[in-house]
């Protein structure tokens, strides 16, 4: 089985999904910039979408997994809108979007 055959089958999809997930987690953990963290979250959500779509083809060959992916896309967009609005509000309050500065609830 050549590399291309391997990568374009279910194995490849799962591997890409896993890579996106890991890279997203790395992005979330290693960034201080709140927008950077959001980018990581988007990667993780896409990883989930890839897995759903891959299994909907290779496991069931029905559209159920695609419907869930559609839901993920819809919710991700709503989440991005709200998260960025919060970041903006935070920026207006503190003049920074460093997530480490978000300590208003600490005291």
């Amino acid at each position: 089985m050549s590399l291309i055959d391997w990568a374009t089958g279910l194995h490849g999809y799962l591997f890409i999904g896993a890579m996106l997930f890991v890279l997203g987690i790395i992005g979330i953990l290693s960034r201080k910039n709140a927008i950077g963290i959001l980018l990581g979250i988007e990667l993780v959500l896409n990883a989930a979408g890839i897995n759903f779509v891959a299994f909907s083809k290779y496991r069931t060959a029905m559209v159920e997994g695609q419907v869930v992916t559609l839901f993920i896309i819809l919710i991700a967009a709503a989440e991005a809108a709200v998260a960025l609005a919060i970041i903006l509000r935070f920026y207006r309050l503190k003049q920074t979007i460093d997530a480490g500065e978000a300590n208003l609830l600490r005291n």
Partner: protein, 168 residues
């Protein structure tokens, strides 16, 4: 044609690396756009053409623009503040995280082998069959309640986000 899928997988992973590790948030968000496009191509090849379209419309046309606007609003471009040096732990986190990939993959490999052993009977015909009507039927029957819930959630998100972002 597998080559196109392979190349777009490469594009997806390569740009995901940039998204996760590039010190400049602006570049990270631009490469996020390429990740989205690569994932959309992967969706097309998995027989999810409508989902791929939705992915491009929502992510590339919507989320990317929103993120770019947010960066322009909160960052001093071309100045050092854009450099997100981030955590001192970038390198250890990346090394540990990427070191875990082989273990993660070993589990996935067994799962994929298990699934591939019993392929569904209509696997070959799946990619060509029309998906939009099937998705619509699923949305209007078994997934009706979640669908309504998400529509209302989106309205809530609109009201909330606009309230948060509104200038005083």
């Amino acid at each position: 044609m597998k080559l196109v899928l392979f190349l777009s997988e490469l594009l997806t992973v390569a740009s995901a690396f940039v998204v996760a590790l590039h010190p400049n948030v602006l570049y990270a968000s631009i490469f996020l756009l390429f990740t989205f496009l690569g994932v959309a191509v992967m969706f097309v090849f998995a027989g999810a053409d409508f989902i791929a379209g939705a992915q491009v419309v929502v992510y590339v046309g919507g989320v990317t623009i929103l993120i770019l606007f947010a960066i322009m609003l909160t960052q001093w471009l071309y100045q050092m503040r854009l450099r997100d040096v981030g955590n001192k732990l970038v390198v250890p986190i990346a090394v540990i995280g990427l070191g875990l990939v082989p273990f993660l993959y070993k589990g996935l490999h067994q799962l994929a082998d298990f699934v591939s052993k019993a392929p569904p009977p209509n696997l070959a015909a799946f990619s060509g069959s029309p998906k939009t009507t099937a998705i619509g039927e699923a949305l209007l029957s078994s997934y009706l309640l979640p669908f309504e819930g998400i529509t209302i959630l989106l309205l809530g998100a609109l009201v909330g986000a606009v309230w948060l972002a509104r200038p005083k």
